[in-house]
């Protein structure tokens, strides 16, 4: 079974096929509604708000459930040498394994890949059962102390809400698909209390491109979700941010070191997951049933023997690190053990996210670099909180491979733009190191391990698109003036050897536009004049009628030329500055040759 939700049950797949077709959709609310684009357009924005609000409410409940379970299972003050720290995650692991196997088979993993799979494979379909399972099992896992975070499950819960609502309302397959990122953004925004980061993450990691069609809805849903979350939790950011500043430009060197450390740490983290996850998945089924419990026991042991901060999402510890509450060695220990704990928790198939652990590891590494600098270069060091904050962004950029989101997340969480320079520097270094040493991003790695090949957003971002200018050829076809009479044109045509041999012709029309004619078309027009069937004094452009070749320019995507070749034998490429001036021409063969020779 795939964590990314490859194996949609047959009934569910049928359900998708039934509900997501372009045909009228039946549903409790909208039975036999004819899909109308105008109606959908109206509903789309309105539904985005409802999706945001409902996702926000569910995410608030999800967070409550986690905290409630945490108190219930780990006690109100988890501390080393409490036996329940060993028992709770192990016992919860057994329950989770049973429920995952028999009731909610698609809830394993973080939720980001599942949402991408829903978008690219299942037309945006996320089953309600998966959404409920994700809510229940993730909250149980995180609440019992498994080293996982609530953000990625929130993202999937949001996508589930979007999928459910859009199905019930009865929208076309195209709309169903785009609702998945709308819900994902809402869920993530509510979990992070940071709408911009959520929007950027969904664009960067789920959709992969800025499309105006869904951007408005994503923004609406994310903002609605955040409004709801803030109504309950208050407007304060997730962490109490200390004074963040750049004391001395030389301090940037320390941030560069942080980028280096973060890049290496993310590599270790990714490699550990890359090795352990498939290794555990290869085990027999009965052993897989025990894996969440074993992972829970390991994480519990880390807490029991002295580091309870590693258990759960770890926001409290991030807050403490940000306020310089941990000594240098403890910070390093926490980072190392968090990597270990998260690797076993996640690889065991326990549902839960990677965001919070990534932030945790980043904060600890950042604070440890800050503490180190404070010890050895006290005059150059700003607050440790600055380093912890930048560290969070660094791991986010390097491990999750979302460089833009990582920068905005730090800015949004801190509300302080003076930190932007260190953030950009450290994140870029970490991102480049991670990319160089781990070419496949971690989420993509998981999809490959699951046998899926979802589009790589990183590759998409970096893909270079061919433009007209890349295939442009000099004008080698005869050009006729449109204002010439047909009779004159015929004379020129007959006296010009080059013209008689050419398969296509360009006609310069009076308004700066062009007409591309095939040889047969030109011969037909000129023959009509010879046979006296037409007025010999009539201008050529008048004879050609009102239709003109489309205006295309050298910077436009080459692929957009293809549909035009059905009608036109050749495409004149125009200069943007001088109306009607030719830059060159393109034939279908030129375009194909360019693509083949790439």
């Amino acid at each position: 079974m795939s964590e990314a939700g490859v194996e949609v049950p047959v009934s569910a797949a049928n359900h998708v096929a039934e509900r997501a077709g372009d045909q009228p959709i039946a549903g409790p609310v909208a039975a036999a509604v004819t899909v109308s684009p105008a109606r959908e357009e109206r509903l789309f924005l309105l539904l985005a708000v409802f999706i945001g609000v409902i996702s926000g409410l569910l995410v608030v409940s999800f967070r409550m459930a986690i905290e409630w379970l945490s108190v219930l299972l780990q006690g109100s003050a988890p501390a080393p040498h409490q036996v329940r720290l060993l028992v709770a995650p192990a016992a919860a692991g057994l329950v989770i394994a049973g429920l995952t196997r028999y009731v909610f088979p698609q809830v394993r993993g973080s939720g980001v890949n599942q949402t991408k799979a829903a978008l690219y494979i299942h037309n945006g379909y996320t089953s309600t059962r998966t959404m409920i399972g994700k809510f229940l099992l993730s909250s149980l896992a995180i609440g019992s102390g498994h080293s996982l975070g609530p953000e990625d499950p929130s993202l999937q819960i949001g996508a589930g809400v979007a999928s459910y609502i859009s199905r019930k309302v009865g929208l076309s397959r195209e709309r169903l698909r785009v609702f998945a990122p709308v819900g994902a953004a809402a869920g993530l925004a509510a979990a992070f209390n940071a709408p911009i980061s959520a929007i950027l993450f969904v664009i960067e990691e789920v959709i992969g491109q800025w499309t105006s069609a869904v951007l408005g809805s994503i923004v609406l849903s994310a903002v609605s979700a955040v409004v709801v979350a803030r109504w309950f939790w208050g407007a304060q950011p997730m962490f109490r941010i200390p004074t963040v500043n750049l004391r001395d430009p030389r301090e940037l060197m320390a941030y560069a070191v942080l980028g280096l450390v973060g890049g290496v740490a993310s590599l270790l983290f990714a490699k550990a997951l890359e090795y352990l996850r498939p290794a555990l998945r290869r085990q027999p089924a009965w052993m897989q049933m025990l894996q969440p419990a074993a992972a829970g026991l390991m994480v519990g042991a880390i807490g029991f023997f002295g580091l309870p901060e590693v258990m759960g999402a770890g926001y409290g510890a991030i807050d403490q690190a940000m306020h310089g509450q941990f000594a240098f060695k403890l910070l390093l220990l926490l980072a190392v053990f968090k990597i270990l704990a998260t690797t076993v928790s996640f690889a065991s198939g326990t549902p839960g996210g990677m965001f919070a652990p990534t932030l945790f590891i980043g904060a600890m590494l950042g604070a440890s670099v800050g503490s180190f600098e404070k010890i050895f270069f006290p005059a150059l060091t700003g607050s440790i909180g600055s380093y912890a904050l930048v560290g969070m962004g660094v791991l986010f950029a390097a491990f999750l491979r979302a460089p833009l989101t990582s920068v905005f997340m730090v800015l949004e969480v801190s509300g302080n733009y003076s930190i932007v320079l260190p953030v950009i520097l450290a994140n870029t270094i970490a991102y480049l190191i991670s990319r160089a040493l781990q070419p496949v991003p971690v989420f993509e790695l998981f999809t490959h391990q699951d046998g899926l090949y979802l589009p790589s957003m990183e590759e998409q971002r970096e893909e270079t698109e061919l433009h007209f200018e890349d295939a442009l050829q000099p004008v080698a076809v005869p050009i006729f003036e449109g204002k010439e009479t047909v009779a004159n044109t015929r004379r020129i045509f007959e006296n010009n050897k080059e013209a008689t041999d050419s398969d296509a012709f360009l006609v310069r029309c009076g308004d700066g536009l062009w007409y591309a004619a095939r040889r047969e078309e030109m011969q037909r027009i000129l023959a009509a004049e010879t046979e006296g069937g037409a007025d010999a004094g009539e201008s050529l452009e008048r004879r050609l009628g009102p239709e003109r070749t489309p205006m295309i320019f050298p910077d436009q995507p080459l692929s957009s030329a293809l549909p035009h070749f059905r009608r036109w034998p050749i495409l004149p490429v125009l200069n943007r500055a001088t109306r009607g001036a030719l830059e060159g021409v393109l034939t279908l063969q030129d375009v194909l040759t360019r693509y083949q020779g790439r």
Binding site: V29, V33, L47, I54, E67, T243, H323, G324, Q325, S383
Partner: protein, 407 residues
């Protein structure tokens, strides 16, 4: 036919509109229901968290009061995990960290609180104390001043005064006596007229070497409680130290009178001796400001005392030298002046012929020289023969520190 299709289209549009309205209403009601449920759960959740937060905060505060700072830190951290924005708990945690000796962590925590409320008097005060611990004097001073001008809840005047006095102590400890004195004087100027406060300021000023200002404070306190024997004694002693013997005698006598009912003990005996000294001190006043006749009379009296002291000291040193079996620099049986006293003895020998009352009345320079000799004699004798008592002690006090000058 056409009319019929138009009617069908219109009906279809109406149907769609109704359907969308229905959808919208359903979504609204579902959202409202979910909102209500979430709110209900959230309130219960918040109450539970508040209770937990309160419980742990109480445990933390209790541990802190009992000096179990480490335990308090853990409890308060737990409390804050349930009520992260509770200002009092945050303050308590920061204090607990400081008390546990985790200066760096405490500083960081207080700095976070400072970010939230840069004008908070208590936060600035704690940061000043932590800066002191870290040995950063300038930062400490800045935070002390920020604390003085910061916000305090309710008892701002008193807290600002306390901080100012703490700052004064800190400045004095760094040797900035002038700065410390200024802070105490400002605190005294801002303080309401209360006996205990005047005493506090008086004591501080006295400790900072400003007896005049101290006496003023004691007098202000005495205006409020004129029969307070402790106050009278403090004021009397200060006046005595200022060599204002008349005032000192009055105050010390009053102090003795007010403490009449208390049992006779050493302290009272010493106080009585001090009062007696104050009474007699004017007789040994060798100041130039005195009329020449009176000064000459005082000088003659002082010379007698000094000579007696000189003789006693010589005899004592001679006896000590004899006991040790060694001569003191002269032949056996002759009157021998010990080496230590020889320079003073030489000066006495030189001045002796002119030591007449009339000469002293006429010659101010000679009077100054004799006054200096008296002072030097007492000082030398005190150094080589031990601390003086009785008249010698009084003479040393009155004339000792500024020989020849107006005391």
């Amino acid at each position: 036919m056409m009319e019929s299709s138009q009617g069908a289209g219109s009906r279809g549009q109406r149907g769609l509109l109704l359907r969308d309205t229905f959808t919208f209403l359903i979504l609204c009601s579902v959202t409202a229901t979910m909102f209500g449920l979430t709110l209900l759960l959230f309130r219960s959740f918040e109450r539970h968290r508040e209770e937990l937060g309160q419980r742990w905060a109480e445990r933390g505060a209790e541990a802190l009061q009992q000096g179990r700072a480490g335990e308090s830190v853990a409890a308060l951290r737990t409390a804050l995990s349930y009520s992260p924005n509770d200002w009092d708990d945050q303050l308590e945690l920061a204090k607990a960290l400081a008390q546990a000796g985790r200066t760096e962590e405490a500083t960081n925590y207080f700095l976070t609180l400072w970010d939230a409320r840069p004008g908070d008097g208590l936060v600035n005060l704690e940061l000043a104390r932590l800066a002191l611990k870290r040995g950063n004097a300038q930062e400490a001073t800045n935070y002390y001043r920020a604390s003085i001008y910061g916000n305090w809840n309710g008892d701002g005047t008193a807290r600002r005064r306390e901080v100012r006095l703490e700052l004064a102590d800190f400045l004095a400890s760094r040797g900035d006596v002038g700065g410390a004195r200024t802070e105490v004087l400002i605190a005294a100027g801002n303080a309401p007229a209360r006996e205990n406060l005047e005493v506090v300021f008086g004591d501080r000023l006295q400790a900072l070497g400003d007896p005049g200002a101290a006496l003023k404070q004691y007098r202000a306190a005495l205006d409020l409680d004129p029969h307070n024997p402790v106050l009278l004694e403090k004021a009397g002693r200060t006046a005595y130290a200022m060599r204002d013997y008349g005032v000192a005698y009055k105050l010390l006598t009053a102090a003795l009178g007010e403490s009449r009912r208390s049992r006779e003990d050493d302290a009272r005996a010493k106080l009585r001796e001090l009062a007696e000294n104050a009474r007699r001190a004017p007789e040994l006043n060798l100041s130039r400001d005195l009329p020449a006749t009176e000064r000459a009379e005082h000088l003659m009296h002082a010379v007698e005392i000094a000579e007696r002291r000189m003789a006693r000291c010589s005899a004592m040193l001679g006896a000590r030298a004899g006991a040790a079996g060694a001569g003191v620099g002269g032949e056996t049986g002759a009157v021998v002046v010990p080496v230590e006293l020889q320079p003073v003895q030489a000066r006495w020998t030189a001045v002796k012929p002119e030591l007449k009352r009339r000469t002293l009345e006429r010659d101010a320079a000679l009077s100054d020289s004799v006054a200096a000799l008296v002072s030097d004699t007492e000082t030398t004798a005190a150094r080589v023969c031990g601390a003086p008592s009785g008249e010698d002690a009084l003479l040393l006090t009155v004339a000792g520190t500024t020989p020849g000058e107006a005391p």
